[in-house]
């Protein structure tokens, strides 16, 4: 982007407009304290592919150049991974500012075609693919190791636990093995659980990431919460860290009250189950590395339980990548970036694959269906030999199927 100042006039420096813009963001005024240290820019997984750096946009805002900042469109080339935010020494809510810039863009410009398509599909079909609701259960038709009766009983009127599957795992076949694995484990462990099936709606995050604003998702939060409460459940389990993060950290804020339900990602829920059931495992030696999904790690602070599950499997050795836990690099698949700029998404993903391959691990494990898809596609395109699995599918395969998973 050309940073010439020739087009700037006195009225371009609109400090009042920036004041009003930041006033709608909790701690938004902290932006004034930005010292241009560049920590945000250097931490950004897309940094080397962008025309401008993140900090230049913050400086534009500091100077009252709101429209110029909007016109950079830099906030669309963002996975919303929040690495910039945790690196910021001033504690500026940079991720929220990016989302608000997207909202502001939609209010003042023609909505991006990809975003308009996504929000249109979600509003019409309540999912991200435009499938009819019954297709949310297609993945249940090919679960290895369960009976037809068990399959037919996956949707109950009443259950203590609901497994909220999420759009990507329900509708993108590359992710099917993830809900299939969790369903298999929950069934073998005798957990009283139900799916929502056709009653499940998108969690709403793609709408917020697309700049539709928080109000747009209120009806999604109400619908999903009611669908779970109708079953009398006290716990909702997620395999999607994005749905989990959204339920745990955003739904209460949007609805204005606590949800009065236990919200668990499977990495929090399974350790107790695995201990009580005592599955028997395949024991051949294998080396794996682990990729922390942004929504589970940085945004929800779950770093240890996935690693504990990995280490609990006999024969499995965990080696860490250079950037892990809070410093984990993004897979490139977040923030709707795959839809907006698939080339940039791939560039980010291939860097993470290279980092994983450098550990010499045989498997790259993660705990997110979107990370799995993005990284698996990058591994395929770069001809990397590392196998990308969600921890759930890896776990289900390691559970000794010949013994039915039961410890002899």
């Amino acid at each position: 982007m050309n940073l010439t100042t020739k087009h700037l006039k006195d009225e371009s420096f609109n400090f009042k407009a920036v004041e009003e813009f930041l006033a709608n963001i909790p701690d938004g005024n902290k932006l004034k304290t930005c010292i241009q240290c560049g920590s945000c820019s250097s931490g950004c997984p897309a940094a080397d592919k962008l025309d401008l750096t993140r900090r230049q946009v913050w400086r534009m805002l500091q100077m009252g150049l709101l429209e110029e900042a909007i016109n950079t469109e830099l906030f669309w080339d963002c996975t919303t991974c929040e690495m910039c935010q945790i690196r910021c020494p001033r504690g500026i809510p940079l991720a929220e500012i990016i989302i608000k810039l997207r909202e502001r863009y939609n209010q003042t410009h023609e909505t991006k075609a990809a975003m308009e398509q996504v929000s249109g599909v979600i509003e019409k079909y309540r999912n991200i693919t435009g499938d009819e609701a019954k297709n949310r259960l297609l993945w249940t038709e090919n679960i290895q190791g369960i009976t037809q009766e068990e399959r037919k009983g996956l949707i109950k009127d009443r259950a203590k636990v609901v497994y909220f599957t999420g759009c990507v795992s329900s509708l993108f076949p590359q992710s099917y093995k993830i809900p299939q694995a969790l369903t298999y484990i929950l069934l073998k462990a005798g957990v009283d659980f139900s799916l929502l099936g056709e009653d499940e709606w998108c969690c709403g995050l793609p709408l917020v990431a697309g700049g539709s604003g928080e109000k747009a998702i209120r009806e999604y939060a109400i619908h999903n919460l009611n669908a779970i409460k109708k079953k009398g459940a006290d716990t909702v389990v997620f395999s999607c860290p994005t749905c989990y993060h959204f339920w745990k950290n955003e739904y209460a804020r949007v609805l204005g009250n606590e949800l009065d339900i236990n919200i668990k990602h499977y990495t929090e829920y399974l350790p107790q189950i695995l201990q009580s059931v005592q599955f028997s495992y395949i024991t051949d030696e294998i080396v794996v590395t682990y990729h922390d999904p942004c929504d589970l790690g940085r945004k929800s602070q779950i770093f240890d339980t996935p690693r504990e599950i990995i280490k609990s499997m006999p024969g499995v050795k965990l080696v860490e990548m250079r950037f892990t836990k809070e410093d984990s690099k993004c897979c490139g698949g977040g923030g709707n970036l795959e839809m907006l700029n698939s080339d940039l998404s791939f560039e980010i993903a291939q860097k993470r694959i290279a980092e994983a391959a450098a550990t010499n691990a045989q498997y790259l494990l993660t705990t997110c269906q979107q990370c799995k898809r993005t990284l698996q596609n990058a591994a395929r395109r770069t001809k990397s030999r590392i196998k990308v699995n969600d921890l759930l599918e890896f776990l289900a395969v390691r559970i000794n199927s010949e013994s039915g998973g039961e410890k002899k």
């Binding site: 693919t129 499938d131 297709n135 297609l138 038709e141 090919n142 290895q144 509708l171 993108f172 076949p173 590359q174 099917y176 795959e338 839809m339 698939s342 596609n377 395929r380």
Partner: protein, 142 residues
């Protein structure tokens, strides 16, 4: 045979969802056409169904992913899956390379072979259908 730049194989049956079917007597082989794979682009994943499963005419029996696109493969006739092409699990791009040979998806034992009569064979009617489908793609309505 070439129709509008898409190749179709003699002796097969075709349906409106761009699947093909080969009649081998008691067993039918199912796959997707050259039209399907060209419109979908590079296939990155296909769900391999479980052998022994029943499939119903017009209902999805497998799902497929290509880049950002997700599609469902629908059964042209009802029956029971007796064999699956497990090569596609690791190499889904075979569908792009050889949609009518190595890219077959499942083999089924049909419930009622009379359902084959409702499918297209190569001819004028099918050529018209493909021309209409191609027009929809150019107009962006498909």
């Amino acid at each position: 045979m070439d129709i509008k730049g898409y190749s179709f194989k003699e002796g097969l049956f075709y349906d409106k969802d761009h699947g093909w079917l080969q009649d081998n007597g008691d067993v039918l082989t199912l796959g997707v056409t050259d039209f399907f794979q060209k419109v979908a682009g590079e296939i990155v994943f296909i769900e391999i169904p479980i052998a022994g499963r029943k499939i119903d005419k017009g209902q999805p029996y497998s799902s497929i992913e290509s880049g950002k696109w997700v599609g469902r493969l629908k059964a042209p006739v009802s029956g029971e899956i007796i064999e699956v092409n497990s090569d596609l699990e690791d190499c889904p791009y075979i569908i792009n390379d050889e949609p009518y040979e190595g890219g077959w998806v499942i083999k089924i034992r049909p419930d009622n072979k009379g359902e084959l009569k409702e499918l297209y064979t190569l001819g004028e009617q099918f050529a018209t259908f493909i021309a209409e489908e191609e027009k929809k793609i150019k107009e962006g309505t498909r």
